[in-house]
């Protein structure tokens, strides 16, 4: 056995160093299936100290390393390029401490997002960032992707909810960033690292802010016969000054998939779009807002507005919405999800553009997205077995991103750049902006060992694009 490998075994123990080729193959992808890369090995540290020792050791050999949580990233962030070693955090999944005084939860990076809320719920609190993948994705992954979710419209994204983190640097040194007080002293390095996709540092411990559960919460489903009506209704809700806890939209193709999935709610199959709205806060205010919202919906020819009648029904509606990506598997062999952001008043125009793009390329596109913050998730359906199909969806995806950038939006709302959007990065940022980012990267990771080939466009990427 190579020295670099045998030392890893010494650090974490033989069962936690994986080199079997078939096993490595199961680590070659995450939720992004248009690319893959074989890791050199997979290492599963049992605690922060082991993780640090592993990184330090790999640094000595200048072997690149990629952290992995649940591998649900949709942009290839967890795909090992350049034969990197995967640092899998699946063994580190303990909620360490709940500090009720400061309202802080201290967790290992491998803790599953939904488990944090599950631990807090009985006491009237929750962890606000709720990516649709929350039943599986980890806090470490959320940290790296600055993940959002339906309820981030009102409560803010991951960045607003991590106050402190222990981070391993590229050379294996450990630093603590941020503070329990929440206010950065000096430069906000924690803010830089949140969303850096594992390219600047690896989190081994995180301190999260908990949020008090609202006293009243009402969930509405507004059923529309025209996509344009639904998107105009969204613009109006936002313009009215109401901040819903969540405001989500699904179009016909998306509805047809989720209704066949594990959580059908019984949406009529001739619907053009459904808006899922949640309003929460003080009971009196919420009731007022619900009236107003229903009125706005009616002005846009809503067919029907339903309200969830019980907690179970509310949970079902959300489960239905949150499994939409996966449900694409029921109507297509593969899907490619885009993550562009547009100014919200452009929603109707953007949806029309997506529709035109689908026609132009002769592909099907389903839309499921965080309408409230203009974060589009067009799901481009294709069959990976057909190379022409793959090219078509990639080209169509880029067209949609170009549209977003051209109209003052962004190429990613929450899924990150990863491998997927390396090309599009150039449209979003100027040369100067890119150079500034590259400088930060060099500062934190001079040898380019942390999650190489991601986020920043570099020449000579080492991943095999399928097919």
């Amino acid at each position: 056995m190579n020295e670099w490998l045998s030392s890893l075994v010494d650090i974490v123990g033989a069962p936690y160093v994986i080199t079997h080729p078939a096993a490595l193959k199961t680590y070659a992808q995450d939720g992004y299936t248009l690319a893959s890369g074989m890791p050199r090995a997979v290492v599963m540290p049992g605690n922060a100290e082991e993780a640090r020792a592993v990184v330090k050791h790999l640094y000595r050999h200048r072997i690149p390393v990629v952290a992995r949580g649940a591998g649900t990233s949709l942009s290839g962030g967890a795909i090992p390029s350049d034969g990197a070693v995967v640092l899998h955090f699946s063994r580190m999944r303990t909620i360490r401490h709940i500090d009720w005084t400061n309202q802080i939860v201290q967790v290992d990076p491998g803790v599953i997002n939904a488990e944090v809320t599950r631990a807090l719920e009985p006491y009237g609190y929750f962890y606000a960032p709720d990516p649709s993948s929350q039943q599986a994705c980890t806090i470490g992954g959320n940290f790296a992707e600055n993940s959002g979710g339906p309820h981030c419209l009102k409560y803010g994204v991951t960045l607003n909810h991590i106050v402190m983190a222990d981070v391993i640097l590229a050379n294996g040194e450990a630093v603590r960033l941020g503070s329990l007080a929440g206010e950065p002293e000096g430069l906000d390095w924690l803010g830089v690292l949140v969303g850096s996709e594992g390219t600047l540092g690896i989190a081994t411990q995180l301190w999260l802010k908990m949020t008090e559960s609202p006293t009243q919460s009402r969930t509405l489903a507004a059923l529309f016969d025209e996509v344009a009506d639904a998107s105009e209704a969204v613009s109006d809700v936002i313009a009215s000054g109401i901040v819903p806890a969540a405001l989500e939209m699904m179009d016909r193709l998306a509805i047809s998939a989720v209704e066949r999935g594990s959580y059908p709610v019984g949406y009529p199959d001739d619907l053009a779009a459904v808006l899922l709205l949640e309003l929460d806060g003080e009971a009196a205010v919420v009731d007022e807002e619900v009236k107003l919202v229903i009125d706005l919906m009616q002005r846009h020819h809503v067919r029907q507005v339903r309200e969830a009648q019980s907690l179970e029904e509310r949970a079902l509606w959300w489960a239905n919405r949150k499994t939409a990506f996966g449900a694409m598997g029921l109507i297509s062999p593969d899907y490619y999800v885009q993550d562009g952001v547009i100014p919200r008043h452009l929603l109707p125009d953007a949806l029309a553009f997506i529709d035109r793009t689908a026609r132009r390329y002769g592909i099907r596109i389903a839309n499921v997205f965080h309408a409230g913050d203009g974060n589009l998730h067009p799901l481009l359906l294709f069959d990976a077995a057909n190379p022409a199909d793959v090219e078509r969806v990639q080209a169509a995806g880029l067209d949609i991103l170009a549209y977003c950038v051209k109209h003052g939006g962004s190429i990613t709302g929450e899924h990150g750049i990863g491998l997927e959007k390396l090309d599009a990065v150039r449209w979003q940022f100027t040369e100067a902006e890119l150079a500034a980012q590259a400088m930060i990267k060099r500062l934190w990771d001079p040898d380019g060992l942390l999650n190489p080939g991601k986020v920043l466009p570099t020449p000579g990427r080492c991943v095999d694009f399928r097919p």
Partner: protein, 415 residues
């Protein structure tokens, strides 16, 4: 048509529901990883080896992943199919083969019953204890999970059928249930009759075939399935009623077992007629009972909760019968018994059992579990941990409650 393997969009949403992934943290031991391995197995035969078959074979077939997968990928089924049909899949060990032999017919079942009873005598107990010292992995360990007071007769010999006119229910007595949990089958019949239904126990019925099916003896399982279908059809009964989650799922999946055979259509009709006793009872207005002064926590058998969506019924019935309920964390996580998985995978099985026992809330006095495998396995874990908590079939709990209130013939003492 999208093939089941290709249907996986690699989203990873199933990971957190898979007991083997949670236990090991290995992607190869997750549903998504197993699909990658199955693909590799099919497409690159030269790469097959013992390690891959081990990761695949570690699957509990608990179906937790199937219940949450948005794309309906039947991962548990796919691994089962691989296990049943691939020549390289690990074959059952000695203890499993013995058990499979014993359940093949009533004669064997009687032997199983005798062994069970014998192992509970004083001499038997001390012999077993002696044998087990230092043998952590011995299948004999299950003996410690046996219910006390074993019957001397199979339940099929104890339950008299309602003879006048065609019966409503064709009671499926199973194999292990028939021998080791004969009392539970009797209780099922009593309760169903209390609910106003007539019950027939058909001596022609065979084992459901699940163990054989999933251990590479499909032809044998098909044979029994055909016999069961024929017997039920000619009985004139309306429904097949089962009280073991594993058999329930196997009987409902006869259309898969018999796909492509002349029996396929009949298997469909049969599977539509299969119900769990808990489902039937919760559809019938049994009287609500006063507080029984006993706190129960429900463990959901995988083949109930994940495979059939049965979750609410045992809770509803127990509550109606006056039991106090308290929920355990991860009630629907596999206990590690998984048919005869515990015989072949002692380590994984023990780890899952430990988690299950740890999750039992302190107030609980009884763990309810509606499957013989779970009962044996959990009871053994409880015995080993030294708690006075016991594992019981919900039908037994219901029966005792209704009898204590005078709804069922008194006496009824167990043999």
């Amino acid at each position: 048509m999208v093939s089941p393997l290709d249907q996986c969009v690699h989203c990873g949403l199933c990971l957190s529901s898979c007991p083997t992934y949670l236990e090991t943290g290995l992607e190869m031991e997750s549903p998504r990883g197993r699909l990658v391995l199955l693909n590799l197995w099919a497409q690159a035969p030269e790469q097959r080896d013992a390690a891959i078959s081990q990761w695949l074979d570690d699957c509990l077939d608990c179906r937790a992943c199937e219940a949450v997968c948005p794309a309906h990928v039947p991962t548990g089924h796919l691994v089962e199919a691989w296990r049943g049909e691939s020549e390289d899949a690990p074959r059952p060990g000695r203890a499993q083969r013995l058990l499979m032999r014993l359940i093949e017919n009533p004669r064997g079942l009687k032997w199983l019953q005798r062994l069970g009873r014998w192992s509970q005598t004083r001499v038997g107990r001390s012999l077993v204890r002696w044998w087990l010292t230092g043998r952590e992995d011995s299948p004999l360990r299950l003996q410690q999970g046996l219910p006390p007071l074993q019957s001397r007769r199979l339940s099929r010999e104890q339950i008299t059928s309602n003879h006048r006119g065609p019966g409503d229910l064709w009671l499926f007595v199973g194999c292990v249930m028939d021998a080791i949990y004969a009392g539970t089958n009797r209780h099922a019949a009593d309760l169903l009759r209390l609910a106003g239904l007539t019950v027939v126990v058909d001596p022609r019925q065979r084992c459901c075939g699940a163990l054989h099916w999933h251990n590479g003896q499909r032809a044998q399982a098909q044979q029994w399935a055909q016999e069961n279908i024929e017997a039920f059809e000619s009985s004139g009964c309306r429904m097949v009623v089962v009280d073991a989650a594993g058999c329930l799922t196997a009987l409902r999946e006869y259309p898969v077992l018999l796909a492509g055979t002349p029996y396929e259509a009949r298997a469909h009709a049969f599977s539509q007629a299969v119900f769990d006793a808990l489902e039937v009872l919760s559809q019938h207005p049994l009287p609500p009972l006063p507080d029984q002064g006993l706190t129960v926590t429900v463990h959901d058998a995988c083949h109930h909760v994940h495979a059939q969506g049965i979750r609410h019924q045992p809770r509803f019935l127990l509550e109606r019968a006056g039991y106090r309920l308290v929920e355990m964390a991860n009630a629907s996580q596999c206990c590690g018994s998984a048919g005869i998985y515990n015989l072949a995978h002692p380590d994984m099985s023990r780890a899952l059992l430990a988690a299950k026992v740890r999750a039992i809330p302190p107030q609980a006095e009884v763990v309810s579990a509606a499957n013989p495998g779970c009962l044996l396995h959990i009871q053994q874990g409880l015995a080993a941990s030294g708690t006075p908590v016991t594992a019981q079939h919900p039908l037994d709990l219901l029966w005792h409650a209704y009898r204590s209130q005078g709804y069922l013939p008194g006496g009824g003492a167990r043999e």
